[in-house]
Assembly symmetry: C2
Homo-oligomer: 355 residues x 2
């Protein structure tokens, strides 16, 4: 494709001969350097890059909503993990809801809304096989980054397949006000459990109790003896612990754990920014003497069951059994800021950025 004459509007080129809009350049946010400890804005860079031509089986996408998630911190390290590390000078990748602006795919047409794991770019060419069309007629498109996306499915499969809550059991969720935590607590309530959340501000405690129906919520920052607070909130002990944070909060929950309890390892956000190997009390004697199961997982372990999960979650949402809160930041350039906000506890519910 040859552009003889064009006018540039931001990232869009208008070919004056054909009157066809041709996206030529796009802004992208890259990993500028690997953080040591808490990441800062200096670890991110902004670049303009050329977009390649669209080939058969590909579409041109315009980003609508970008997901920022705690697991992204792990990918900023150069360490063996369940996802490959981000590369220096390469864009951050994450879940994105995008609009199909041009299509050379038989699967998608212009105007379709899709979701996929995509780079942090304002516009991108993507292969049809990396995208899934979503139905935005019944539910906000950004919900596919949260309650019907990675966090919702993580809560659903972690709790249902590992935690296996039974009516009358006690379920404790740490990071309870986070995108995964609020869903875990509400599903546990649907199953008739006594649900105890752990969160870090009085505002979150209030929201979880009043809006999300948690039975008890502990503010770990203002509680003097977290161990005692958990014992008090869980008079029958802890049967399921859905762990998003790790560290001393988990030590306290585990010291109240019941025989045959299940610990769902979903996140360890308290340790994502540590540089030394974190030390703590050894937990194996406790897990052994109480026949406890502990399992780490990522949502992709249950990929073959995603349709079931989305179906069930959407049903609960439309029935009003499952409430969902988003924190929406605005502006593509605000993506790094929004990600950093996760580690300072600024968000309630799922954090997304609207371009």
């Amino acid at each position: 494709m040859v552009q003889l004459r064009f006018i540039q509007f931001g990232i869009i080129l208008l070919n004056l001969t054909t009157s066809k809009i041709i996206v030529m350049k796009t802004k992208q946010i890259v990993l500028a350097s690997r953080p040591k400890g808490l990441p800062t804005l200096k670890n991110f860079g902004s670049q303009e890059v050329d977009l390649p031509e669209i080939n058969k089986g590909e579409v041109l996408l315009k980003g609508m909503f970008y997901s920022v998630d705690p697991y992204m911190r792990g990918r900023m390290n150069d360490a063996k993990s369940y996802v490959t590390p981000y590369q220096i000078d390469q864009p951050i990748m994450g879940a994105v809801v995008a609009l199909v602006s041009e299509s050379k795919s038989d699967m998608f047409k212009m105007g379709d809304v899709v979701v996929g794991l995509l780079p942090w770019r304002e516009a991108f060419i993507a292969s049809e096989k990396d995208l899934r069309k979503i139905d935005v007629s019944i539910i906000r498109p950004s919900y596919y980054l949260g309650i019907l996306g990675m966090p919702g499915l993580t809560a659903y499969f972690g709790l249902m397949r590992i935690g296996k809550p039974k009516e009358g059991e006690t379920v404790v969720v740490s990071g309870a006000a986070g995108a995964v935590g609020v869903v875990v607590g509400q599903i546990a309530k649907i199953y008739g459990c006594h649900v105890v959340g752990i969160a870090g501000t009085d505002e979150k405690v209030k929201t979880l109790k009043e809006e999300f129906n948690f039975d008890e919520v502990i503010n770990y920052k203002t509680t003097k003896d977290i161990n005692k607070a958990i014992a008090h909130a869980c008079p029958k002990g802890v049967d399921v612990y859905f762990d998003n944070v790790g560290g001393e909060i988990s030590d306290a929950v585990i010291s109240n754990i019941n025989f045959h309890a299940r610990i769902v390892l979903c996140g360890q956000i308290s340790m994502y920014n540590t540089t030394d190997v974190p030390m703590g009390p050894r937990i194996q004697p406790m897990l052994l003497t109480r026949s406890v199961l502990m399992q780490g997982f990522i949502v992709n372990d249950y990929q073959s069951l995603f349709i079931e999960g989305i179906h069930q979650l959407a049903e609960w949402v439309t029935e009003g059994k499952l409430k969902y809160t988003e924190t929406v930041e605005h502006g593509f350039d605000n993506l790094p800021n929004a990600l950093l906000g996760l580690f300072t506890g600024e968000n309630t519910g799922k954090m997304v950025v609207e371009a």
Copy 2:
């Protein structure tokens, strides 16, 4: 029952009027005090006690073989665990193979050999419902304390139900020369795994390699870098870790753990004698990022499947696929010594005491 005249032979009273042997007194070994750290002989006491009369549904037993097991150390503490603590001045309890000397039960006759969880007494009255008759025509009676008893079934169910080894996978066993460890390694070999043992003397290393067919065995006491030694012995990483010891050995194994690995928590013998809460590197980040399952268990979790386990183990033993070693100490009075020997690594295979 009144004894007018009798002659005492050890623990047996002969009633000279009726010529009937009446067991009146028996020696028992009790917990004299709770150990702090490593137990010593001072924590045990020896007493003579009267035996009650035999009631309907009970039998008089004479102890033949007594099991000594690492888990007994835990019961010497006054702590919440999967088994109730031993009580001060009450006899130690454990698995015992015993001969029925007199029976008021329809289930057992004189001369039967039974196994049960019984007090450390030379003779005892027991209820028929606490005993199981064993077939000693095909296999030594003491085998029901080991390969066909608690340690064999522990190895079988822990490995098969939690570890789930697949052909070609790497299975690491700590405490490999112990009663459970040698069985775990051999079953893993039957399933076509690469089997790596960890043990504490060169003699044990030699035995495990030459007699029990382990592929690699590491002497953790003489290896300078246990982490590197495991990496070297497990070039494809660790898929199943059967943990009998805990502590730094486990830290090293876990740092070599594969995605979707299974950690079977069977024992933590390195920590049974510690009085402080042991500290170590936090393992949750590793379990999380590699989707690892860790499960504590006791053999009774699988009680409903015991017949299946005994059947399979007996088949492997008689086919010669499963070799079994016992260390037999002699003399009822040697029971405390034999138990203490477990913590100083004196035994290879299952330790039993023949009365």
